[in-house]
Every structure is written in structure tokens, then in C-alpha cells.
């Protein structure tokens, strides 16, 4: 056990820091929340800058165009970008973190050549079409069907909660190719070009008021059979490969953001009068709550270091990922509540009020409602831990996600 970074890692950090310091001032301001084409352009432009500087696909293997960085270097990369407030992956999320790595692990040469360069260069945006109105946590019960017809699959069904569907070029789609087989034995993983006739995207408004995700209606959509990733009816296993990329490092920037929010909460509480005129910060109950959440954020960072260390030792931190997600998402929601408590009645508006720092805090508080739901709900994470880490008996008929 040791906390120091190696000389090579420190050099990596230093070079990255210098590049960020030089590059970030030339990045234009971020577009409005619901300007989807603007957001796509912004996120892709940042990815192009990363590509030009050799920082695209930090964790992708070098033979597939990535940087082939170690888990620790990846940590450093995400930490520095978050610290310097560089743009995040945004619209590139599914391509860079899910679809690309899945194609590297399971795709054909042709599929890789067709898609990987575009994802790395920020020219190709992906979305994820896994969930359906009747198949969320119980993903294996999905019903969208794909029927083989000559050289094509013909797809019919509905997907929901598809983030960034409005601006995506491709969708990683889970479909049922064998309706007779047991639920998770008849699923396949397909590449769906979003331009294909019969694909309809219907934006859904979320609780923040934004239309960040959408419903996909798939009506006799014809996709070439060569778009199948992995074997037919083996899509459940491929999807599990996809999920293994989702976990792990996805939250590094968020933990630093939690810390910032706590610091901001403390700052606002110092300058805001409480009910009896003294600053809100004079209330030891408030300071204690802030301190306890700070302790958790500090512990969560230590947990990240532990998970990264496990990954460096060649182990997939499955338990660590669920442990992390459970506590991080809860902590983040409680920070949102505390910040709102400090804002007082300024927390009643999602748009800026004169003299108050409210908008991003209130928006963040609403956004984090989804954190305990998306990518496997807290209840599903607890089932995973109880069954896989503690060895308790399986739920009756539970299909796993």
C-alpha cells in the first residue's frame, strides 16, 4: 500500500495539466441545456481537441487508436480534467465508454474499422437502446423483436430513456431474436444506424425540465445482418461486457463536483443571514452535517483509489463498483438537499434569481434524482452485493442486471 504516484505518472499529470491550461481558455462557452445540436457540436469539438493532443480514448488499447493508459493514468486524466473544469464526455458517453469498448471486445474487424476512428475523433455519436417501457431493472424481459429476413434483421418495438437519442448517429440496441428461448438466451446486440427509415425519436421531458432522453419507436426497421455484434442470441453476454465498462471510473469527476458543492454550500452559509440575523454557518447542526458529508466524499475518493488499485492489479472491481455507486448516489442527493436548505427560498426557482447562486444548485439537486435509478437502481445494486459478495440466496426469478 502506498499513496505516492510514480515518476512516470507525475510526468503524465504535469504534461496534461500544461496542455489543459493552454487549451481551456480557447474553449467557447457551453451551449444552452436544451440546445441539442449545439451540445453535440460542443462535445464533439472537445473530443476532437483531445484527439489532436493524443488524449482520445485514454483507456482504449493503443492498437485500437486509444492511449492504452493504465488505470492510474486514466484516474489522473479524469481527475485533472475535472479539477480544471474541462468539458466532460457529454454526447460522447455511450460511444467512448460503452459501444467502443464493446466493439473492441466483441466486434468484427469490419465493425471496428467502421466505427472506432469516428468515435475517437468525435465524429460519431452513439446512444444506448437497452431499456423498454416494460423492461428496466428486469432487462432480460425485453420484447423489441428482430426477425431475420435474408441479409437483414427487421426490428419492431419500443425503447425508452434513451439519452442523447436526438443527436446520435448509432444506437447499441438489444433485441429479441429468439422468442422461444428462456428470456436471456434469445437476445442479440445490434448496431442500429439512427438514420434508418422506421426509427422515430420522441423526446421525453425529465424532472429537471429538460428533454435529455427520448423514446425510440422502431417500426419495421431494416438493419443489415452484419450489424450483429457477437453471435445471434448471445447478446445478453455482450450486454454484460458493455455494463462492465460503464462501472468503475464513470464517477471520478462527480466526486470532485460533490466536494465543490459542499465548499459552495459552506461559502453561501457563511454569507447568508440565518433566522436570528447571525450567519447560517453559526449553526453547529449545519456545520456538522456539512462535515459528515465531507467525510463521506473523502471516503468515496479513497474508495476510487482502492477500485483503481484493484483494476491495476488486474481484478475487475465488481463489488467495489456497486459499493461505490450506492453510497456516492445517496451522498450526492443529500448534498443537494443540504445546499437547498442553505439557499432557503431561493431554492424554489430553477432559473437564476437576483442575488442568489441558485440555478445550478437547484438543477443539480433535481438531476441527482436519477442517480439512484439509472445504470441499475440502488435496490438492484443491493441485490447484487447481497448475492454476489455476501453469498445470500438468489431472489426468486431474478434475472440480473
Amino acid at each position: 500500500m502506498q499513496l505516492r504516484y510514480t515518476a512516470a505518472e507525475l510526468a503524465f499529470r504535469k504534461a496534461l495539466r500544461a496542455w489543459l491550461a493552454e487549451t481551456l481558455p480557447t474553449v467557447p462557452p457551453a451551449p444552452d441545456r436544451d440546445d441539442w445540436s449545439g451540445r453535440r457540436a460542443y462535445d464533439c469539438a472537445w473530443q476532437q481537441r483531445l484527439y489532436g493532443a493524443g488524449y482520445a480514448g485514454v483507456d482504449w488499447p493503443a492498437e485500437h487508436g486509444g492511449l492504452g493508459a493504465s488505470p492510474t493514468e486514466q484516474l489522473i486524466f479524469l481527475e485533472e480534467c475535472a479539477r480544471m473544469r474541462a468539458p466532460g464526455v457529454g454526447a460522447g458517453f455511450v460511444g467512448l465508454l460503452h459501444a467502443g469498448p464493446t466493439l473492441i471486445a466483441e466486434g468484427t474487424e469490419r465493425q471496428r474499422a467502421r466505427h472506432l476512428p469516428g468515435i475517437l475523433r468525435g465524429e460519431e455519436v452513439w446512444c444506448q437502446g437497452f431499456s423498454e417501457p416494460d423492461a428496466g431493472s428486469d432487462l432480460a424481459s425485453l420484447r423489441t423483436s428482430a426477425v431475420r429476413d435474408g441479409d437483414s434483421y427487421v426490428i419492431n418495438g419500443r425503447k425508452v430513456w434513451t439519452s442523447f437519442a436526438q443527436v446520435a448517429d448509432y444506437c447499441e440496441l438489444l433485441v429479441r431474436t429468439d422468442p422461444q428461448a428462456p428470456s436471456h438466451k434469445g437476445i442479440s446486440w445490434l448496431i442500429l444506424p439512427m438514420e434508418t427509415p422506421g426509427v422515430q425519436v420522441r423526446p421525453l421531458r425529465n424532472a429537471v425540465g429538460s428533454d435529455e432522453f427520448a423514446e425510440l419507436i422502431l417500426d419495421d426497421v431494416r438493419v443489415p445482418a452484419e450489424n450483429l455484434v457477437g453471435a445471434e442470441n448471445d447478446g445478453w453476454r455482450v450486454a454484460m461486457v458493455t455494463f462492465s465498462f460503464e462501472r468503475g471510473t464513470a464517477f471520478i469527476a462527480d466526486v470532485l463536483e460533490s466536494r465543490r458543492l459542499l465548499q459552495e454550500t459552506a461559502r453561501i452559509a457563511r454569507s447568508s443571514p440565518g433566522p436570528r440575523g447571525e450567519p447560517l454557518w453559526a449553526d453547529p447542526g449545519l456545520r456538522r452535517d456539512v462535515g459528515r458529508l465531507t467525510a463521506e466524499v473523502c471516503g468515496l475518493w479513497s474508495l476510487i483509489l482502492k477500485n483503481v488499485s484493484e483494476a491495476s492489479a488486474g481484478r475487475v472491481p465488481v463489488q467495489g463498483a456497486s459499493v461505490f455507486k450506492l453510497r456516492f448516489t445517496e451522498n450526492r442527493q443529500r448534498i443537494g438537499d443540504l445546499a437547498a436548505q442553505v439557499l432557503g427560498r431561493a431554492a424554489l426557482s430553477v432559473s437564476d434569481l437576483p442575488g442568489a447562486d441558485n440555478s445550478h444548485i437547484v438543477e443539480d439537486r433535481l438531476t441527482t434524482l436519477a442517480y439512484t435509478i439509472a445504470a441499475g437502481t440502488s435496490q438492484i445494486q443491493k441485490n447484487i452485493l447481497a448475492e454476489r459478495a455476501l453469498g445470500l440466496p438468489k431472489e426468486p426469478r431474478w434475472t440480473s442486471r
Binding site: M1, Q263, R267, D289, V290, A295, A313, K382, E395
Partner: protein, 331 residues
């Protein structure tokens, strides 16, 4: 950066676990919980293992290792509910003769605690008082104290000091006192992580055996989720403890004021909450003296009050928050 245990650390831990498995059986704990006489024999054996000298330099008869190793061992000691003044012994081994060999037992009192209750004072040979200005050693002989007839944790006797202490022998500077507070908090947090883990293991075991409604209770989600939450608390506390111990071993690698406080907050929470969970999962059996669940919870409560409560550490963290920001931005 590497938070996995090294082969040497794994060996060190395995050695202690083997010993504790044989020595600190549930039967022995039950016997200890029903008898007021301390188990001197087992204490001496711990000292024979070299336990109290983990961080003492080899030239002075110790193992010459760091806080990280001490924390790894403390987690196991907590997990097996080993009784005795463990943290005081680990702290005092290099300055109070006889501690290393298990002949002298040290109790601690921190002047910052408003109530002068000292754990293990009834069995101790010495008392070390931590003052802001330094460390003071007193022989217990001649000190006036009132021993609690029925301590909360039956394996942790306590006494309240009555009357003035006298001057004592100065055995450490203000700096040493500050260091003792930090190391003491981290090692107590490590013990708490162990208590949390022991409670989780006992509860998990019971959940796979007890049958109700024709199924083992561990197949009910209400129980599964209680245990999963307990597991999260253990893992979070352990990560925080390891990072805190490493920052004490290598001050340049992190900010110990922050990591130590975080470790104590998270480990206290884990131990107490998991102790409760253990009682709850055992149902009515959990409220009996026979099942060890109450001992985990009671030990957790005892250790929560040592080396600063979670609330005190949380307030400290909150007060440092704006500075921590400046530091992070400047780095």
C-alpha cells in the same frame, strides 16, 4: 498509488488471523463477558506475537512497520472483539517500559474529554494523560478512581478519576500529543472497521441459517438490503482508514487532518450501524446475552467516544472546508 495489500501485509494479517481464530473464539468472548477478571494470559500472548511493537523501530525491539500495518492488524483485532487497551499499548510501546512485553497495561485519558472516564483503568498499571502541551505518565497505584460496577461493554472495564492527578512524568511534547491523537483516531477507526465487519459476518451467517416462512431469512430482500448496506459501510470505512494511515506514514502524500477525521467519522458510523443491524437480523435472539451481537454494538459505542467523536471530527472537517478548496485549486 496502490491501495492493495502487499504480500508482506497479507502475510502479517494472515498470521494474526490464524492466532485469533484459535484464541478468540466466541466461547472465550462469552466467558470474558461474564467474568470481571481480565484475561492476562491472552494479553501476554498478543505481546509475544510482537503486536504492540508493530510501529516501534527494530532497533528498539519492534517490527519497524508503519501505521498502515498497525491499521491492518487493528481491523482484525476489532473483528474478533479482542478486549484490552489495544490502541494505548500501540501508542505507548516505545515510551512506557513493559508495554512491549505485555507486562504493563496503559490506560489513556485525553484532557479534552469533559468527563474523566478511562477505559481499562481498573486493570492498568499506568495512565497516560494527553494534554495539548504534551504527554504525562502516571503510575495507577496511588491514583484515586471509582470503578464502574457494570461497564457498558462487559469486556471494557471503566473508571472515573476522582481527585487531582498530580504532575506526572513528562514523556512527550505537544507535537507527540497531537500525533497520538491522530494515530489513536486512525487505529480506533481501524478497530471500528473490524467491529463493523465482525458484526456483518455474524449477521450474514445467521441469515443463511435461520428459517422463517419456509425460507432462510437471507432470501428476504428486507434482510439482504440491511446486510448490503452494512457491507457498503465496511468497505467505505476501510478505504478511508487505509488512506488515513498512509497519510500518517507519508505526510507528503496527503492531508492527514482531513483523512484522519474522515476515517473516524465513517468507521464510527459503520461500527454502530452494523452492530444494530446485527442485533436486528438476529431478531429476539439478538437481544439475548448469549448471542454476541450486543458485544459488537457495545464495543462500537465505547470506541465512538475515543479519540474524538464523529461529531467533533465532522465539525473539524467543516471548518477546514474553505481552506481545503484553496489548497486543491492551488495544487
Amino acid at each position: 498509488m496502490d491501495l492493495t495489500l502487499s504480500p508482506d501485509q497479507l502475510d502479517l494479517r494472515a498470521g494474526l488471523v490464524e492466532f485469533l481464530d484459535a484464541q478468540w473464539t466466541p466461547e472465550r468472548l462469552r466467558a470474558g463477558a461474564s467474568s470481571p477478571t481480565p484475561d492476562h494470559d491472552s494479553w501476554r500472548r498478543l505481546s509475544e506475537l510482537g503486536l504492540f511493537g508493530v510501529t516501534v523501530p527494530e532497533s528498539a525491539g519492534g517490527m519497524g512497520l508503519g501505521c498502515a500495518e498497525a491499521a491492518i492488524l487493528c481491523e482484525e483485532l476489532g473483528r474478533y472483539l479482542v478486549p484490552g487497551p489495544l490502541v494505548p499499548s500501540l501508542l505507548a510501546a516505545d515510551r512506557v517500559p513493559g508495554v512491549l512485553t505485555g507486562d504493563c497495561l496503559v490506560a489513556l485519558l485525553d484532557r479534552r474529554d469533559p468527563t474523566a472516564v478511562a477505559e481499562h483503568l481498573p486493570n492498568a498499571t499506568h495512565l497516560v494523560v494527553i494534554e495539548d502541551s504534551g504527554l504525562l505518565l502516571h503510575p495507577v497505584e496511588g491514583l484515586k478512581s471509582v470503578v464502574a460496577q457494570q461497564p457498558l461493554d462487559p469486556l471494557t472495564p471503566v473508571a472515573v478519576l476522582a481527585g487531582p492527578l498530580g504532575s506526572g512524568e513528562r514523556i512527550g511534547s505537544a507535537q507527540d500529543a497531537a500525533r497520538w491523537r491522530e494515530v489513536g483516531a486512525v487505529l480506533t477507526a481501524a478497530l471500528q472497521t473490524g467491529v463493523a465487519r465482525g458484526a456483518l459476518e455474524l449477521a450474514t451467517q445467521y441469515a443463511t441459517e435461520r428459517v422463517q416462512f419456509g425460507r432462510v431469512i437471507g432470501s428476504f430482500q428486507a434482510i439482504k438490503h440491511l446486510l448490503a448496506e452494512a457491507l457498503v459501510r465496511v468497505d467505505l470505512a476501510r478505504a478511508a482508514v487505509h488512506v488515513a494511515a498512509l497519510t500518517l506514514d507519508d505526510p507528503g502524500a496527503g492531508d492527514s487532518a482531513e483523512t484522519v477525521a474522515a476515517a473516524k467519522v465513517l468507521a464510527d458510523d459503520a461500527a454502530a450501524a452494523n452492530g444494530r443491524t446485527c442485533v436486528q437480523v438476529h431478531g429476539g435472539m439478538g437481544f439475548t446475552w448469549e448471542v454476541l451481537a450486543h458485544l459488537y454494538l457495545k464495543r462500537a459505542w465505547v470506541q465512538q467516544s475515543a479519540f474524538g467523536s464523529a461529531d467533533e471530527h465532522a465539525l473539524g472537517l467543516a471548518e477546514r472546508l474553505p481552506d481545503a478548496m484553496l489548497q486543491a485549486e492551488a495544487e
